[in-house]
Symmetry: D3
Subunit: 116 residues, 6 copies
Amino acid sequence: MSKDPALKTLDINDIIRLQRNRYPVLLVDKVIDLFPGESATGIKCFTYNEWYFPGHFDDDPNVPGFVQVESLAQTFILTFLCEEEFAGMKTSFVSINNVKFREKLYPARFCICMLL
Amino acid sequence: MSKDPALKTLDINDIIRLQRNRYPVLLVDKVIDLFPGESATGIKCFTYNEWYFPGHFDDDPNVPGFVQVESLAQTFILTFLCEEEFAGMKTSFVSINNVKFREKLYPARFCICMLL
Amino acid sequence: MSKDPALKTLDINDIIRLQRNRYPVLLVDKVIDLFPGESATGIKCFTYNEWYFPGHFDDDPNVPGFVQVESLAQTFILTFLCEEEFAGMKTSFVSINNVKFREKLYPARFCICMLL
Amino acid sequence: MSKDPALKTLDINDIIRLQRNRYPVLLVDKVIDLFPGESATGIKCFTYNEWYFPGHFDDDPNVPGFVQVESLAQTFILTFLCEEEFAGMKTSFVSINNVKFREKLYPARFCICMLL
Amino acid sequence: MSKDPALKTLDINDIIRLQRNRYPVLLVDKVIDLFPGESATGIKCFTYNEWYFPGHFDDDPNVPGFVQVESLAQTFILTFLCEEEFAGMKTSFVSINNVKFREKLYPARFCICMLL
Amino acid sequence: MSKDPALKTLDINDIIRLQRNRYPVLLVDKVIDLFPGESATGIKCFTYNEWYFPGHFDDDPNVPGFVQVESLAQTFILTFLCEEEFAGMKTSFVSINNVKFREKLYPARFCICMLL
């Protein structure tokens, strides 16, 4: 049985419409393979031209862990907010568990968040 | 047996010297009751004049969860970086577990992080 | 005769509604003990994560005098703007007199402005 | 008797060298007619591309009073810091008196501060 | 035959109304001698208090070439957007040709763009 | 005859070392296929979390033309600055010609600049 009828892709304009985070705390650029209420893959590009690289660190710019966590969380939340009954709601963290950071992320890299 | 000989307080100038995060990703203002290598209490003030309130959210400014996590993490890291052999090292997240968010934080509030 | 019936407290959402300054020039977080048209006590928290600390000064972050003056002025203006007939008006300085700066203010401090 | 031998002009590179304020709290662009220890004329250009216009106010950008005060104060301080014995010192406000604001300042205007 | 009946001057509030660029990418402060659809003179003030001077360059702040190009382009576009039928449209570059940079621009200077 | 001996790749740390632009005017993340003095391919990622998207435009974030031009120019300049005799020099535009913009660029896209 196919899930395809529900499959969605969200571009940045959809993301702006569906959730309330704005610059400089909107940390996902695109969502693909989205099954509403179930799973999603978020894409966040990293470029040196972001506010956190000068401060983390001036001689070795890499993505702070808390930015990676937030990117993951915003992808997760969009699996719900993409349903019209929840669109535009403000959301908050309740808890975080079992997050592991496997390698440093530099500018010119993607972060691909898969939620299952 | 008293731990007092090791007890330290770190003000913002100490924090700048001991760790490498800088504006706008330095998210702890003071550390009190610091027992090096063991425990610490971090203080982070919140004021509307911070970069994340306009984006989270324009009509209800409250502290994003990822900022609270990072504030906690930076306090934790200072329990090690306060020892001169580690001072000034750059650090990264390895994992996060069991973080719970109990209530929304607004401007004019303190966040007090206790690590045991 | 009691003034109490008029006593008000303004949180950040009230302040956003009643006056027009926005980030990064909204420099009061809370107003307590407010007697409309008469007096007020403003609270502004200071945290390293504000735009003026890196520039004033990189090796000794302290609150610039002009930020303290503006914080005081915004508290003063709210004693009028809190009355519904003036709510949301844009205001300007006309003159400044007799402001004294008693000590340096660092991150993790409050500024409490009392106007009598 | 002429004061001319002491007359100085400071461009932005001189100002950066002589005093410690940096972006975004360095609010004077040029100093002309400077008699060290006596008087100076500071020039500050205003352009919409400054951090305070969106917040003061989104539908009527004009220069906040506290920015004008600081611009004046930085010109004043340079009458002293331009002498090599004081160059590069950090300074603070002690008091402010008798400042009057005569008209609103918009982008594309100069502020010329004369200190006598 | 006089062009005078069509002659216009645009202040910052007109510019905000007629085109869609906003801080920090609105790079013209005033337009004078505007003949709709034909020619215009744009004025952009430069002050150290702009976001690009710390990065270009910390020890020699001067206006990046791409900012000058954009300032010129925004003046050009306003010769069309000033006509009510186009007001408020979003615009994009199609091509750039024959731009020459004659000298370095520093804070406290004007850039005057003449389009013929 | 092979050009391979000269072939270089520059990551963000190399770019920071070789040229003087810094945040928020460093607009290339990586350079590949670099033949010093001859040609290069620059990579610039785009993510919503950059300063120009809120201003260009709040309801349709796309990359301003002047940012694309600068990204191209910085890649070009690195074909020279990558040679140690020029490393770290400050550079300026002299002229721009024949730049064409083919399509709008959105967050989650790369810009690949090829210079021949």
